[in-house]
Symmetry: C2
Subunit: 144 residues, 2 copies
DNA sequence: ATAATAATGGATAAATTTATCCATTATTAT
DNA sequence: ATAATAATGGATAAATTTATCCATTATTAT
């Protein structure tokens, strides 16, 4: 469904959100450890998220990653997926035609569009914060 | 969503079904031309589909690919996706955890499961034949 | 039997994604 | 100023996916 990079990005952001909700900054090391992802690869992804203003980063001692109140309030999963995987999943044709086109649909268009649009709307309406709250409450987990 | 191999496999199978419904065998060359896919890569995929008994192939002159009445009647999209991409898309965790687990869910589980299951059921209920009929009727297309 | 034809299968190559390494930059505390 | 710390960014490497090439096999028609 999503690329590895995107999966790590989603998990990392949810973890950072949880920590921020508890008033803590967190480091690359701690994040990678908490979501079971390769540290240096995760670093690249956090850089992308930081440049996309989805998370915030500080250098130096006492530095680390965090989300500010505005980010916690506004960031939806769709922003993360778009930043890392692009919008192919939202707009792409299920059979891989160059672009999806209502007027010249592929044979799967009718059946596929509904599901693709539901996925889109789920990602657009689900906030990182609400998922972080489930994590915080111990109801859910980010690694096996 | 699906791998390139799987997209080609779906398009190829729908094309073969259309031809078989019209009583024609079709060759690798014709298939690749009709679905705009790389010929030799498509060949590998057709081999997989043939081994999985999703399509039928004949060697030699007058040879080619086709679907027999039984295949036309029973093959669903889910068989093709399973044969090429495996069952990850049906069973996998949206956040990439090793396995999806109701009892120890990831934060996205509740929102994701519904969509994943809908996709699964769409693929399991949609037959290649019905998509081929739309193609045949000129309502849909397999390349841009 | 022979030639022609079309799929098959094995060996590679190219492209992309995933992952690692390490020097540099910014920041903090002493 | 200096040392310590943590993110950044660039250069690569490993792994996987996508793609190509070509000799072999099976089949058909002559
Ligand atoms: S054209 Fe294929 S999904 Fe719309
Ligand atoms: S545990 Fe992640 S989708 Fe079920």
């Amino acid at each position: 469904m999503f690329s590895k990079a995107c999966e790590y990005g989603l998990r990392a952001t949810i973890y950072i959100a949880e920590q921020s909700l508890s008033g803590r900054k967190t480091s690359l090391k701690e994040i990678a450890g908490s979501i079971a992802s390769p540290e240096s690869f995760t670093s690249k992804i956090l850089q992308q998220l930081s440049r996309s203003e989805i998370i915030h980063s500080d250098k130096g001692p006492t530095g680390g990653f965090s989300m500010n109140p505005h980010q916690l309030e506004t960031v939806k999963l769709s922003s993360i997926v778009a930043a890392i995987d692009g919008d192919h999943i939202y707009k792409g044709c299920g059979l891989g035609l160059e672009q999806c086109n209502e007027k010249k649909p592929c044979p799967l268009h009718d059946q596929f569009k509904g599901i693709r649009d539901e996925l889109k709307s789920m990602l657009e309406t689900t906030s990182v914060k609400e998922l972080a709250l489930g994590l915080k409450g111990g109801l859910t987990m980010l690694k096996r």
